[in-house]
Each structure stands twice: as C-alpha cells, then as structure tokens.
Assembly symmetry: C2
Homo-oligomer: 292 residues x 2
C-alpha cells in the first residue's frame, strides 16, 4: 500500500492516529519538504513516529516517483505532506503513476489552510476560488491573481490568498553555472504581500483592492496547537502600517473579504482587529453590514 498522509498544519502532534499507524507499518517513509513547513524540525517527527524520514524534495517526487513507489505493491510505503495531501499542491502525479503500476493507494486526510482558514471567522462556503501571490521581481510581476480576486469580489465572495514560498531556489548565477547551491528559504510575509497588492492596485486602478476600503485578515501559523497562531484583521491600509512582527512567524496567508460579509462574520473577525472601531465602520459603510 502506498500511503499519502497529511500532517496537518502545526507540529508533530497534528498527525492523526490513523496516519501514525500507517507510518509505523511502513518500511520507508518520505517527508515532502518543499510546499510548506511545519513549525518543527524533521527530528521531532522522527522521534514521535519512531521511524527515520527520508526528505523528498519536488525534484525527487517528480523525477523519482518509481523509486518512492518501489515495492509498495507488497509493503507499506508512506509519503508525508504538510497540511492535506490535496491542499495547495497536487499529488495526483504520483498517484496516477501508482495507478499505472497497479499499486494500491490510500489517502489520509488532515487539516489544510484551505479549511483551517475558517478560524478567521469567515464562512468557508462564502469563499470563491483561491489565488496565489508570488514574489515580484524587477522584471516579473505576474498580476493575474487580481482578475481572480475581482471575479470573486464581483460575486461578493471572500478570497484566500496563498503567499509564495521559495525553497531550494538557485540564484541565477548558480543556475547558469549548474551549481547545486541553494538560497536560504524565503516565505512571503503579510507586509510584503500587502505592499505588492498596493502596487498592483496602483497600476490597474480597478478598485478591487482599495487600501482603506478593503477589509482583509492576516493569518499566521493557523493550527490547533501553535501558540504562535496569529490572526490580525483590518483594512489593507491598516495592515500595511503594522510593524512586521505583529503578524508572527511564517507561514502567512491573507484573506480578502468579499461584500457578502455577514454581520456575524464581521463581528467574529472584529475580535482580531487592529482597531475594532475602524473595522466595524468599514464593515458597515462599505460592506453594508448591519450590527444592530
């Protein structure tokens, strides 16, 4: 059996009992190391699981899937991923490969940011499509996310914005010279994200992300256990003014609030506000929430 196991969002204790059983029954256990991070190191996981973990980067999962799947028709092999196996990154490639090789597979689900985002108080069924925001460079500022946010906004839907993660990236020079030297990992912060949103709004001026009229909620390390969990709500302008440490440690995610905002959603999120008075004012005047 090939197990694809979600680890949840926070640390080693977010594994499910079913996931733990599968790990302990497995002869080889891989840990996917590129799409996201837990707040703990591999060693903490190994200690709890009682198993050595093989780090598997994107390259390995894509190019050496047969190696990972080897013998999984007769033994148990597990691949561990942060969040849920079907979260932000797909693992359908390796599952399709397993199907071709007639290897039975089982998915063990867990929380991912796609549902844990509900912790901010907005209803999950009021979210539209999810978008990703990548690090801009001087020459590359992909802004198609803006059209997606507008599509959601036109329907009054909230948007979850996933912020870029750069892990195992090579500098242009090292890439050109074929040197496998990697840059330190980079995680986009809320401050960085909000600045990029302002840059795109300035360029496009379509009123989708007007700084003082758009409510947003910043999430950091959402998960059952993390004492570092932070949820901060405010206008985009307010979030931009906050010192970066307000938002806590990475990973960060951002929610753009849509106009169908219900007053109970607004009230719950007011508890996380930079300034609850401003939050309620904008919710009332711009979003039409009635708090009475």
């Amino acid at each position: 059996m090939f197990y694809l196991i979600g680890l949840g969002l926070s640390d080693e204790k977010d594994i499910t009992l079913r996931g733990l059983e599968a790990i302990r029954s497995s002869t080889r256990v891989y840990l996917e190391a590129y799409t996201s991070i837990l707040t703990v190191q591999k060693e903490r996981l190994e200690e709890l699981y009682g198993k050595p973990l093989v780090l598997a980067d994107r390259d390995m999962i894509e190019t050496q899937s047969d190696e990972i799947l080897k013998d999984a028709d007769t033994r148990d092999v597990a691949l561990l991923v942060v969040g849920d196996p079907f979260g932000a990154t797909t693992h359908t490639d390796i599952l399709l490969r397993a199907r071709v090789l007639s290897i039975p597979t089982r998915i063990i689900h867990n929380a991912s940011i796609m549902n844990a985002v509900g912790a901010c108080g907005l209803q999950l069924y009021n979210f539209g499509q999810t978008v990703s925001l990548v690090f801009f460079t001087d020459t590359w500022k992909p802004d198609s996310f803006y059209d997606r946010v507008r599509e959601n906004a036109d329907l009054g839907m909230h948007t979850l914005v996933l912020l870029d993660i750069k892990v195992k990236e090579q500098s242009e020079e090292n890439l050109a010279r074929g040197r496998k030297i990697y840059e330190p990992p980079r995680y986009m912060s809320i401050s960085h994200a909000v600045a990029q949103l302002a840059e795109v709004e300035d360029a496009r001026r379509d009123g989708v992300l007007v700084p003082d009229q758009t409510l947003a909620i910043a999430l950091s390390r959402v998960g059952g256990g993390s004492d570092n969990e932070r949820i901060v709500s405010g206008t985009l302008a307010q979030l931009r003014e906050q010192p970066p440490d307000v938002f806590g440690e990475p990973l960060h995610s951002l929610v753009i609030v849509g106009r169908r905002l219900h007053h109970l959603e607004a009230e719950y999120a007011a508890g996380f506000a930079v300034d609850a008075t401003v939050w309620r004012e904008v919710a009332q005047k711009v979003y039409g929430c009635n708090f009475d």
Copy 2:
C-alpha cells in the same frame, strides 16, 4: 480552556494526537451530534478516548452554551465536532459567547469535506463557492443554489454541493402537538440529489446542469480510513442511471465540474468514471480538455 476539536471524516482514528491529548485533559467532553456523522458509534469513540461523551444536539449548543462553557476558565472542557470545527457548520456562536465570558479557547483543526473533496482529483483552488442542496418537499423547492452554481460555472469553477442531512426532525404532527418524538435521520443520497438537480434544470432551463453535458463526481465517506470510500464520476445523466448502491453509504457529496477543468484533473477523475470513454469524450468536446 475551551477546546473545539475536529474529529475528521471517517472514524475514531481520525482524531489528531493533539486532539486526543485535549480530550484526555478535559473534565467534560461534548460530542456534537447534528451536523454530520462518523461511520462509528459514540461508544467506539468513548472506548478509544477513555472518556464518557455527552451528546450535544443543535438545540443544546445554541441554547445551553453557558452550561457547556461552565468552569472552562479554570478547567478544560471540549466540544467535539465531525470534520473541522469550521467546516460546513459554524461554531462561531459558542466561541463568541466564550469571548464574552473571558474563557480562553483553542481550535484543533482536522480534515473536512471542504478540503478532502480534493480526493476526487480536482484542484481545490479551482473550486468556487460551496452550495447546499436541501430535501425538496411538495410545496418547498428552494433552488437558489442553481444561481450559485451558475456563478461558479460562468467563471469555469467547480462547485462542491453539500447534501442535506435531517437529524432530530419532528413530523408536522408531532411538532404541532409539541411532542418531542423525532423522525429517523435522513441523509440525501447522490441519486436523490441528481434527480433534484434535473428537476430544477427542467424548470429553469438555463443550461447550467444539462444532464448529458455536465460532468459531476459523487463522493461517499471520503476519509483516510474508510474502506467504504467511494468516488464515482460521470455525466449527471449517467449518475442518475446508476443503481443507488453504486454510491455507497451516506454521507454523500457531489461536485459539479467547471469548464476550467484541466486535462490532468480530468485524467485523474477518469479513474473513477462510470464509463471512462464517455467521461473523456465529454471532457474533450464540452470542456475543451486536450488529452494529447
């Protein structure tokens, strides 16, 4: 501390280690019994947790929240919910109440259908808003979900359709006479849902749910462990023709596939198809997927 703990989707083993710790530290543990069901009975949970569980229905959580929260400022109290605490049903009411009472709260997340739906092979970020389909009666056939599906469809997005659950409902007669006698629980099946969709399409004729041109995926008991998990894909017309037992036991959910369908999504879901040839044909001709 007041813990709100997600149990995941399948059975007692889907609890996380963190959730289990919180349960074992709690002096009172409530099990929410109305929004969804696990595949196992309360006794199996009690045995594993080593704690008695108090069943809490909607009524109790809404009207006796102070009772549930009692002493949670000095002791640990837990409320267990199937899936994730912020899945289909909100628990913000009781959390807001805890905030008023200055009781610290902690959410322990888990998988919910809102992210586990990814098991069907469609990308979560290509889903629009989620809709609910309720049991029609002779006189009440609420069809606003159709407008929501169209909003998603216009953007090419997939739609997750949550199917109605009737638990602890009273017959009109018992309600009128004030008798607290409840009907047996009812869970909407895929067959029932697809028939209702056809009824609405017939009435509205806006082409959102054309039976032989709309791809859909039925999910049953999606979860890490359930051997009963079933995923069945086909046109709405094909799903309607299937004998009900094809779809397995409740709970069922349905996905309406949007036009942004990627050929890899289509290929993965073809593995669940009633008829993979028809599936690929419709994906190609109607959805414009290119499998080459």
